[in-house]
Symmetry: C2
Subunit: 322 residues, 2 copies
């Protein structure tokens, strides 16, 4: 009788996305102290990668309206992490059609960043491939987040994987943007991605959302079926319902390289306060959009309104509009 859950795979790597995905809750207006605390926690906890934010276009996003982590300018990053001496790798996300990548992504030799994560919807794939090549040419490790996969047809996913297989990406991430996937669906997708990438050495990742309280479970499910790149955030902070909580993930992984105590420390020192100012987590409106496999924008609107508990009204409206 085997008990694989008490073993570990050394090749599995964890990425902290707190500032990047969590920044969607507060327009990336984090205090420096918190960003620095998350960075130091990643170092102490033995986390492999930290995503500092987006490389957002200043033509689309006004710098006064958004915090520094919407843009990840070199000076802002170095203000907090210096030259980032150590084994933690730093990443920034570049959204297809929302990034001036030719100008804003510097050659790797001039940047403290190690990884560019290109995020794309399936219809933006040609742009994404150009971004991937651009970042790889500049010397970065490049990964690709294929978003909102729960509303993409199998033929389209297969085509996207066939194209991405030929690019220099090191990892392709299964992204459950709407938090709508159940374990069996995640299992099927992870297997599909792995089969499509067989023989390339490329890894499969998982980026889960917590609309149905399944982000941690779906992350475990992905790991069981061979995903070796795993996203999580401190206190599960992320857009809407949030992401897989780092405290649960690190506590689950048996690799002695990881330590959970620093994560509890940063939660208690910083995220209790932050929760009084920002709002995320698997609240009922997010349950509803997740189960209906819809973008969380209507749930975000409900949660931000005066009548944040108008669950039936939200449900009726979404069902009527199906």
């Amino acid at each position: 009788m085997s008990a694989p859950w008490i073993t570990y795979r050394p090749e599995l790597k964890v990425m902290d996305c707190t500032i990047r995905d969590g920044g969607l809750v507060n327009d990336h207006l984090f205090d420096d102290a918190l960003v620095k605390a998350v960075y130091e926690t990643c170092v102490e906890a033995g986390i492999d990668y930290m995503e500092l934010g987006y490389k957002g276009s200043k033509k689309l996003f006004a710098p006064g309206k958004f915090g520094d982590w919407k843009f990840c300018d070199e000076d802002d990053m170095r203000r907090l992490v210096g030259d980032n001496d150590g084994s933690l790798k730093l990443a920034a996300m570049a959204d297809a059609e929302k990034t001036d990548y030719h100008e804003d992504i510097l050659p790797k030799s001039q940047s403290v960043l190690d990884v560019i994560r290109v995020a794309t919807y399936v219809h933006q794939l040609p742009v994404a491939v150009d971004m991937i090549n651009d970042a790889a040419d500049k010397g970065y490790e490049v990964t690709c987040n294929l978003m909102a996969i729960s509303i993409v047809q199998d033929a389209e996913i297969d085509q996207a994987l066939e194209i991405l297989r030929e690019t220099p990406v090191s990892t392709i991430v299964v992204v459950d943007s709407f938090g709508s996937l159940y374990q069996e669906q995640v299992q099927r997708l992870v297997k599909k991605y792995r089969e499509a990438l067989e023989g390339t050495g490329k890894e499969v990742g998982i980026h889960a959302h917590n609309n149905q309280q399944l982000a941690f479970a779906n992350t475990i499910e992905s790991i069981i079926h061979g995903a070796n790149r795993v996203d999580a955030t401190m206190a599960g902070m992320g857009r809407g319902a949030g992401n897989c909580p780092m405290e649960l993930l690190i506590g689950f992984l048996r690799n002695p390289a990881y330590r959970v105590r620093p994560v509890y420390q940063v939660l208690q020192d910083y995220f209790v306060d932050l929760r009084n100012k920002c709002d995320w987590g698997p609240m009922v409106p997010y349950n509803i959009t997740g189960q209906l496999n819809q973008h969380p924008r209507s749930a975000i609107a409900t949660v931000s309104s005066d009548d944040r508990h108008a669950y039936v009204e939200l449900y009726d409206k979404l069902v009527a509009d199906l």
Copy 2:
């Protein structure tokens, strides 16, 4: 390519445990209006069973200190549900060594209850078997919750199943009292229980706790592997971290006999207010005890203290005491 998650099994039945397990949060001191609303919601949502509370011993629990649902006296139940005309079945839990079952459980012909759920730790099994026989002789459907299974050895579980197999129980429930089980463990247990009960017509149930945000996921996992009796509670209300949320479960099950809208209605009408008075859910202290496979009492103490966010202190204490 198959997609079993969009089908359903008509033989799968859902039990609402809100008042019974949720009552462990507030000493069963619920307003009548809320209990009645949960009852009516169960009827409207097509839920199969509702557990009204415990048959607690008045020698152990002072009636003034606890609400009516600690005892489920016949008059109190009938005050709210009348003769319970309709298809919803009513259950009460009888805890081994905490129930005066010979006196307090009436013959079925005199009771509005349909089901007695005998809850037992493995070391109490001889008492539990006597209680099972007593309730069956009195005319009830009887089920058995084998508790805290995550700290019981396989040989003991096997022995318990061998004994229970010969009793008149209709269902044996896998109970993750500490909320410590991961999907693979749940899968293994459900398969073990099913194999042990093969050929008897007895069903396997699942009662999950949400310490690691896995209650819904573990419930799905159990269903995938053949559990046909499934526990959940409104808003996930239950001791400590709570249980599998009914709103998620009913939204997931594809059986058209179930309707999720009445569940959203009762959440918005009653459970938003209740949350301001009572505290449950997968807070960090419960993550910690769940991951350490421990009884949640230390986490409950932390959450009830002045320093409810003292996560590191709780973690250090529990790790030091291992």
